[in-house]
């Protein structure tokens, strides 16, 4: 009777947090992520000494740094994955406003590190790229908005999130950072697609993307050069692309052997954007195919688990994050094999980069949280159907 009068008493779940987490989390994905990170460290031993030498550090300086940030990323990932989707949503939406503000204030407080694009905040010991953190929380925000709009008489979440997305893309293009801008746009489109977008809207988005590409091509020499380089059948042998392609060729099936590779000495971005070339050269096709398989496994498992998910928000947010993760890895590797035009994009967990590592860790933590197995009310279905 007390329950009737005062509502349900808070009942402790009979299971401790950690065992429950371990039981419900997607352990295969977890293993894949861990393997990817370890491969990243292994490649860091190969790829980063030239950079360390250039910057006057001991040879494995960047490996230790990566291991440190990796540890932090793992803690963040596991903590995040322990939250319930609702908790992730609440914190994520708050985080979204924070990251949005950080992005908006970049032109005032940011630094460009002499690379011509103001994308970073310099914190002295490390630099932080707000757009890296913005991507997952933007997905949360959008999923929340669109899920809410599916309620009868719910808020106009689709329009609202569309405008927010356009503003963010605008900021990113101003930096300029077309790559991250495209990813944000893509994430929104995926969520909208999964939420049941009419086909004509998707067509419109596709047209917008093409128009944006043409705009970037015609206004930015930087972008134009890369696309021209991609379209021309002959590769200029002195470009990063050509070195990467040659490194993959040199590697063959089993690679040239540990530390025997030479591409890391020629490629300035060997430790980040072209890490896959280093992997291909020193460890061969075997390791590259393993990396591809790991990424594909993470993405596929996420999609198939989300297909069973009943909560619209969880489904949308999970799909968005999984897509971002998969797309980023596809772009990174696709550029190295010249399937795609050159676009600097890090390979999640494998490429060197502190803030990107932690941001990816948080994102994958969210994904793990969304894909945890939980009761989906199948019993309710059966009961309801009997009613109808």
């Amino acid at each position: 009777m007390t329950e009737m009068a005062h509502g349900t008493v808070l009942v402790q779940s009979g299971e401790a947090i950690l065992p429950r987490w371990w039981r419900t989390v997607d352990r295969v994905t977890l293993a894949c992520i861990l393997t990817l990170f370890l491969i990243g460290l292994l490649l860091g031993f190969a790829a980063s000494p030239p950079l360390a030498e250039r910057n006057g550090h001991e040879p494995f300086y960047y490996v230790y740094k990566q291991a440190f940030f990796g540890g932090m990323a793992f803690v963040a990932m596991i903590l995040t994955s322990m939250m319930s989707p609702t908790m992730v949503r609440r914190i994520g939406v708050m985080g979204f406003f924070g990251a949005f503000a950080a992005l908006a204030l970049l032109p005032v407080f940011g630094t460009d590190f002499g690379q011509g694009a103001t994308r970073w905040y310099s914190l002295g010991f490390a630099s932080v790229q707000p757009s890296e953190f913005l991507k997952p929380v933007f997905v949360i925000f959008t999923a929340w908005m669109i899920a809410a709009s599916q309620q009868i008489a719910g808020p106009p979440g689709k329009t609202l999130s569309l405008f927010v997305m356009l503003i963010i893309v605008g900021f990113l293009v101003m930096q300029p950072d077309y790559g991250q801008g495209a990813l944000i746009l893509f994430a929104w489109a995926v969520i909208y697609f999964v939420a049941g977008a009419p086909i004509w809207v998707l067509g419109l988005v596709a047209i917008l993307v093409c128009a944006g590409g043409v705009f970037a091509y015609s206004t930015s020499q930087h972008v134009a050069r890369r696309i021209d380089g991609f379209l021309s059948p002959e590769v200029d042998p002195n470009t990063q692309l050509a070195y990467a392609a040659n490194a993959i060729r040199e590697g063959g099936i089993f690679g040239t052997g540990l530390g025997e590779g030479s591409v890391k000495w020629t490629l300035p971005d060997a430790h980040t954007d072209f890490i896959i070339a280093v992997a291909a050269e020193e460890y061969g096709l075997v390791l590259v195919l393993l990396i591809i398989a790991l990424f594909a496994t993470v993405a596929m498992r996420a999609f198939f688990r989300l297909m069973k998910e009943r909560d619209p928000f969880t489904r949308l947010a999970g799909a968005g994050i999984a897509s971002l993760f998969a797309l980023q890895s596809i772009i990174n590797m696709g550029v190295a094999v010249r399937l795609l035009p050159a676009k600097g994009m890090t390979l999640p967990f494998v490429s060197y980069g502190g803030s990107s590592l932690i941001a990816t860790g948080i994102a994958v933590g969210m994904l793990l949280s969304f894909t945890r197995s939980r009761p989906q009310g199948e019993i309710g279905d059966i009961l309801l159907n009997r009613h109808r």
Binding site: V194, G196, P237, T266, L285, P312
Partner: protein
């Protein structure tokens, strides 16, 4: 399926029924709302399920594509630039150049280039010191600075000798690397340097380098020489290496004796137009071609080819053309007397002779004694238009189509307004400029029987027999007069009389134009255009000295008769036997009896 939104949340029938029963009708609305919600949710979930499947398939396809491309790339052959071409494929791609006897003028030599991978140097200081010791012109400090510049690749030398290669090898540095390549070699050094021109490395790869002709025939025939279809077949020139060497040697001696700034000579076959020898001093070694002058007068550079590029007023040598035209057009014959009373005034300009020849001279003597006034009178008879036409037919008004790229720069200069005064000065070679090669070709045309000859550096099988410019008779008369210039006491080229060979010719001394306007008083271009043997000329030799001056019997002499003529005579003395011309004995009758006896 009907749109659930079109079904009322509060169906009137049920509400009324509920009201009658005293139930709260709001419960009906809430239940309907819940049902609708669940329906929509199921629908959306089904749609999302299929769309997630689509996404999964797309991503799986993309991952597969990356994997397949990666596999294809990894199993294809590595095509790194450094291993793209094997050394053997470039050997002997550029054809040799040989003279008319097949003697090598230019060939290729396999050698090595030296380059550095600074990051592979074990001890950059030692490497820099070692290289500086081997190559005199390398500086240790500069090398060390270059090694530490962060560059990952740098050339040290385009080609090194085997000895140098061994020394570099002995340094034992893994970062010092050799790239095999061919270099162009001119085994005769400076001989025929202007004709050959030179070559340089074009595109350089680590294990091969393109050779590009930069001047002379190397540049003109660049494509032919590089053509792989040629299969290494040598390019045969009309030059004769022996004769070229002799001409250069005599010319160099003459240049010194005559205190000249430069000297040049063209020896040409009068019938075929083949250039047997073409020399210009000072010259250079095409194996180590000097840098072109970036400022100042390019003609001061040893690279300057006086015979082909140098456009000079060639003075009285042009009188031959005036006399030839006057004879050819029937205006005069060789004995027609011409008024030579000086000075000849015309439009505020007066024409003088070197010395007074008296009131009248025959046409023949006008040429033999080189009277400006007499020639100008002949030109007056011919008129501007016909003179211009005649010189044009001789090819003296346009650049030659010759097998050296420099010939394009040898574009003759003449007044745009070819009036009567110009006609008169041009008749004795003033106010008109051309190259020596132009002059040689025109003289060949004059004396070979009257058919046009174009100079060429390629072997010719037979006489050119071009367009007829003058008649056989006129040509014959000209030969006789040219011979008289050398043979007669009054002739201006007595010093060209050589035992055994009958030489004919015409001198020309033109004041050098001052770049600031006007002419120098004491600087001349002395030219002697000669033909030999004069009774049936086979060869034309044009010798030009730039600013010669010698002191003879206490007098400074600059005119061609004193300077260019003796040098040309010495050239003929040396080369006529080499050309296979039979010297005539002192007694022609004895020679005749000997030759008839031997037959």
């Amino acid at each position: 399926m009907t749109d659930p939104r079109r079904i009322a949340l509060r169906p009137l029938a049920r509400i009324l029924e509920a009201r009658q029963k005293g139930e709260n009708p709001d419960a009906i609305e809430r239940e309907n709302l819940r049902l609708r919600h669940e329906q929509q949710r199921d629908r959306l979930r089904q749609r999302a399920e299929s769309r997630l499947l689509v996404l999964a398939i797309c991503f799986f396809a993309a991952f597969t594509a990356v994997g397949v491309k990666m596999t294809a790339l990894a199993s294809s052959e590595a095509a790194e630039p450094r291993s793209a071409t094997s050394g053997s494929s470039i050997i002997s791609t550029r054809a040799d150049i040989v003279d008319r006897q097949g003697r090598v003028l230019a060939t290729n030599l396999v050698t090595n280039a030296l380059y550095v991978h600074p990051h592979e140097l074990i001890d950059p200081e030692a490497a820099a010191a070692g290289l500086a010791a081997i190559f005199d012109d390398l500086d240790e400090a500069t090398l060390l600075r270059r090694f530490s510049s962060g560059s990952r690749f740098m050339w040290i030398r385009g080609s090194i000798s085997p000895e140098q290669q061994q020394l570099v090898h002995d340094l034992g540095e893994p970062g010092l690397l050799f790239g095999p390549r061919e270099m162009r070699l001119y085994p005769n050094g400076a001989v025929a340097s202007h004709v050959l021109g030179g070559a340089r490395f074009g595109e350089q790869a680590v294990n091969a380098a393109e050779i590009i002709g930069v001047a002379g025939v190397e540049a003109h025939f660049d494509e032919e020489l590089r053509d792989p279809a040629r299969n290494g077949e040598a390019l045969e020139l009309s030059l004769d290496l022996t004769i070229q060497a002799a001409v250069e040697e005599v010319l160099a001696g003459g240049m010194t004796i005559m205190n000249a700034q430069g000297a040049s000579a063209v020896l040409m076959d009068a019938h075929t137009g083949e250039v047997i020898s073409l020399a210009s001093l000072p010259d250079f070694d095409p194996n180590a071609r000097p840098r072109p002058l970036l400022e100042g007068d390019p003609s001061q550079s040893p690279l300057y080819n006086r015979a082909v590029q140098g456009v000079y007023e060639l003075g009285s040598t042009y009188k031959l053309f005036t006399v030839a035209q006057a004879l050819e057009e029937g205006l005069v014959n060789t004995e027609t007397m011409i008024d030579t009373q000086g000075p000849l005034r015309m439009a505020g300009f007066s024409i003088n002779d070197f010395h007074d020849y008296g009131p009248r001279l025959s046409v023949r003597d006008v040429l033999v004694q080189s009277s400006n006034i007499g020639t100008a009178r002949l030109a007056q008879m011919i008129g501007a238009e016909r003179q211009q036409q005649f010189l044009g037919r001789l090819g003296l008004l346009e650049a030659l189509d010759f097998e050296m790229i420099e010939s394009r720069q040898g574009r003759p200069l003449y007044p745009s307004n070819w009036g009567q005064l110009s006609t008169m000065t041009i008749s004795y070679g003033h106010g008109i400029s051309a190259t020596q090669l132009h002059l040689a070709a025109a003289y060949a045309t004059m004396v070979n029987g009257g058919t046009l000859v174009r100079p060429t550096l390629q072997r010719q099988a037979e006489p050119q027999l071009g367009e007829r410019v003058i008649s056989e008779e006129t040509s014959m008369a000209l030969r006789e007069m040219l011979r008289a210039v050398v043979a007669e006491e009054e002739g201006t080229a007595n010093l060209a009389e050589i035992a055994g060979y009958e030489v004919g010719g015409k001198t020309g001394s033109a004041d050098k134009p001052n770049p600031n306007g006007g002419y120098y008083e004491d600087r001349v271009i002395a030219t002697f255009a000669s033909v030999f043997p004069s009774n049936d000329p086979q060869y034309v030799l044009v010798v030009t000295l730039d600013e010669p001056s010698i002191s003879v019997l206490g007098e400074t002499r600059r005119t061609a008769g004193w300077t260019a003529v003796p040098v040309a005579a010495e050239v003929i003395r040396r080369v006529a036997p080499l050309l296979g011309l039979r010297p005539q004995t002192v007694d022609p009758e004895l020679a005749y009896s000997l030759s008839s006896a031997s037959q």
